[in-house]
């Protein structure tokens, strides 16, 4: 399952990279924009992976307009699933609780997930060169899992990609963000967990970006 809110600049940026590079090869259900709400999120966990973007804290994870879709007191059926939460701080309490409730693996962050975006590109966030240095390693982690590789391999792919980008980055602030996120990335549960491999990004999606996201952006 993919949960991709689009309401504000940070969710738009992170979800945009998943829309560009992951969505065409993922299986339904896909909760995008205003569809990313608690009731469908809690009910539609039929997939073997839950991949979500959203605002978060140590115990909660949010969907559209910051509605809490999952917290430590309302965890849907995650037994045997791989859960990736592209959010702040969920590795502190929510991640361990997901493992306690039977998730095979969890990948998330224990502090703020921070990056620099170009606000002028909010309608085509996948074209944002400032955001790429943080968002492509995360996207690569998700795609490695969808390739059928283990969560341990996917996590290492992300960490190595962060290291490469930090070494190449000339902007001090962006490099700090990369290093900060790398330090705070966490893998819990089994590093051997994997899902059924999905086909690679099909044509024309590998060549042609999606149309602009025309949903309004909260100020």
């Amino acid at each position: 399952m993919l949960a991709l809110p689009l309401g504000d600049l940070p969710t738009r940026s992170a979800s945009g990279f998943l829309i560009r590079y992951v969505l065409p090869r993922s299986l339904p259900p896909q909760l995008i924009g205003p569809m990313d709400r608690k009731q469908p999120f809690q009910m539609l966990t039929i997939s073997d992976a839950i991949i979500g973007v959203g605002h978060g804290d140590d115990s909660s994870f949010c969907g559209h307009n910051n509605q809490v879709v999952m917290d430590i007191l309302s965890i849907p059926n995650v037994k045997g699933k791989i859960v990736i939460l592209i959010a702040c701080e969920t590795a502190q309490l929510l991640g361990p609780e997901l493992i306690e409730k039977g998730a095979a693996s969890y990948i998330g962050f224990k502090d703020d997930l921070v990056w620099v975006v170009d606000a002028d590109l909010a309608f085509t966030p996948w074209s944002d060169k400032l955001a790429k240095s943080v968002m492509l390693p995360i996207t690569s982690c998700v795609n490695t899992i969808l390739d059928g590789k283990t969560t341990g391999e996917a996590f290492n792919t992300m960490q190595e990609y962060f290291s490469r980008n930090a070494a190449l980055e000339e902007d001090d602030l962006i490099r700090s963000c990369i290093n900060f996120n790398q330090k705070n990335a966490v893998l819990l549960g089994s590093p051997e967990a994997r899902v059924t491999a999905r086909p690679p990004l099909p044509l024309p999606f590998s060549l042609i970006p999606p149309p602009p996201i025309l949903l309004p952006l909260a100020s």
């Binding site: 804290d57 703020d112 620099v116 170009d118 606000a119 002028d120 000339e170 700090s176």
Partner: protein, 83 residues
């Protein structure tokens, strides 16, 4: 390679977030930004929830936020220390 303004910013953020330290950090951030004229609208974002600081702030507004918000000062210091 970090420039001198970046190193000065890191130094300014190492102090406790007193009013004087926040003003000094804001000034250091202004000097750093002056060496990086923006080509677009760069904005620092995070996916935090109910934070005592904004989750989306244009870089040009960071000095002002450093000056008035100790919580942002602390979080920005944690990020900058990694650089």
């Amino acid at each position: 390679m970090a420039n001198a303004e970046w190193e000065q910013l890191k130094e300014a953020l190492r102090k406790a977030p007193t009013e004087e330290a926040r003003k000094a950090a804001a000034e250091a951030m202004r000097r750093y930004l002056a060496t990086h004229p923006p080509k677009s609208k760069p904005t620092l974002v995070s996916l935090g929830l109910n934070k005592p600081y904004p989750t989306s702030i244009p870089l040009e507004q960071i000095p002002g936020e450093l000056e008035r918000n100790p919580a942002f000062f602390e979080q920005f210091r944690k990020i900058v220390e990694e650089g």
